[in-house]
């Protein structure tokens, strides 16, 4: 299986595509072209793309675009999508107001 660990491997030049303007991450409005460019900047994992561009960091936390981003990386690097880990999931499951998350009786006797 081809490895993506050597980050200096030749993945060819960035070639623009006709649908580069379509939005992949709706929450943060990140386009396909931006994601493909980030891969050519060296971001070879879903976590790295997320941290570099904020794709998957918005309100839905990547529940919509996570798979799309993974497939884009796989295609650009010419590996199978299963080889790539999904982005790390984090609590809380849904956005929660601070006053709700912090609403807990703590009695210091």
């Amino acid at each position: 299986m081809k490895s993506i660990n050597d980050r200096s491997q030749d993945i060819g030049p960035f070639v623009s595509q006709t649908d580069d303007a379509i939005i992949i991450c709706r929450c943060e409005e990140i386009t396909k072209g931006e994601i493909r460019q980030a891969i050519h900047d060296g971001m070879f994992t879903v976590n790295e793309i997320r941290r570099y561009l904020r794709a998957g960091m918005g309100l839905c936390q990547g529940q919509t675009c996570g798979k799309l981003v993974k497939n884009l990386i796989a295609r650009e690097l010419n590996v199978i999508p299963d080889q790539l880990d999904p982005a790390t999931s984090r609590s809380p499951m849904r956005p929660v107001e601070m006053k709700v998350l912090g609403n807990e009786e703590v009695s210091h006797v």
Binding site: S8, T45, E48, R90, P92, P95, M98, L101, G102
Partner: protein, 375 residues
Amino acid sequence: MSKYNDVIIIGGGIIGNATAYYLAKKGLSVTVLEASKDIGIGGSSRNGGGVRQSGRDTRELPLAMWGIKNLWPGLSEELGVDVEYTQKGNLRLGKTAAHQKILQGLTDKAVSCGLDVRMINGDEIRAINPYLSDEVTCASWCPTDGHANPLTATLGYYKKARELGVRFITESPCFELRKIKGVIRQVVTPDAIYEADKVLVAAGFDSRKILATVGIDVPMMPLKMECLVTEAEPPMFLQMLGTADADFYGHQSKHGSFVFGGSSGFEHLNKDNGSPISSSIGASCTCRGIIKYFPALADAKIVRAWAGWLDDCADHVPVISPVEEVPGLYIACAFSGHGFGIAPAVGYNVAEMIADGHSTIDLSALRYDRFKPKQ
């Protein structure tokens, strides 16, 4: 590709990446070995983004001040990535006489090192940040402090170093260093043995295990700390914030979300699941702390919480040093929870130390052999 380099760096966090970049700029050949699948997965992607001088130990302060003066302002342009550096000051907040005493002590020390920091009262505080509750009665104010985006800064150094020819190899944990004829030579990973004239260990608290293979020890322990982030809110304020009581610290990012870190008091006892998973009490406790200072944020929604390890040193100050006992070996670790703000300055000065044998900032107070028994 050749496994020989001028320099091998162990650890692809912001310290390793920044040093790689400044070494490549000097024309050296560099390979960075990262244990995990992701570049910057450690503390570098998990921190609160504070770029501050106030509150720093006097041994670390010269690095912090030099980096803020010389590197941070031009960093976005230099790396070709928006690191969101925002220099709008730091307020360290207090509510009680005990807090005032803590803040005054920190302020006096920083002033003696030439830093522009002063104590201000409740009215002055609310003139700077009108959202703070009336409970806040005192603060230290350092106008040249600020914050930046740790994710883009860490990956920005990676991107730029890679462009300059630095080779990064992920999933390559170093488990042994080897000397040949008394000098450092080999870095051993499960898949390959790499060779270099010089080796920098910048692997966070894991540096301890790696250094042990050549008989060197840095007295530090892992400490798990937690952070959280809100959804994007309208712009409210630009300062970096902290408190005398350490209930929370944080800032509003360029994107609009508030990034806050906090502590529950159980950090030193946190469960180690092998990965830094946030506890069930951390985020709730931090929220309560924040609301007391910022009642207006009570309705802001938390979208994400996470945890990260600090490499907490015996004296809470980093170890940045050549190791004369093992010629060719260098250490940059034990940042004790404040390695992000000084990372550009550390990378620049360590690159000088490795390439030229001396650095712009005198780092002798941060040597690895400074730890002495109490009697």
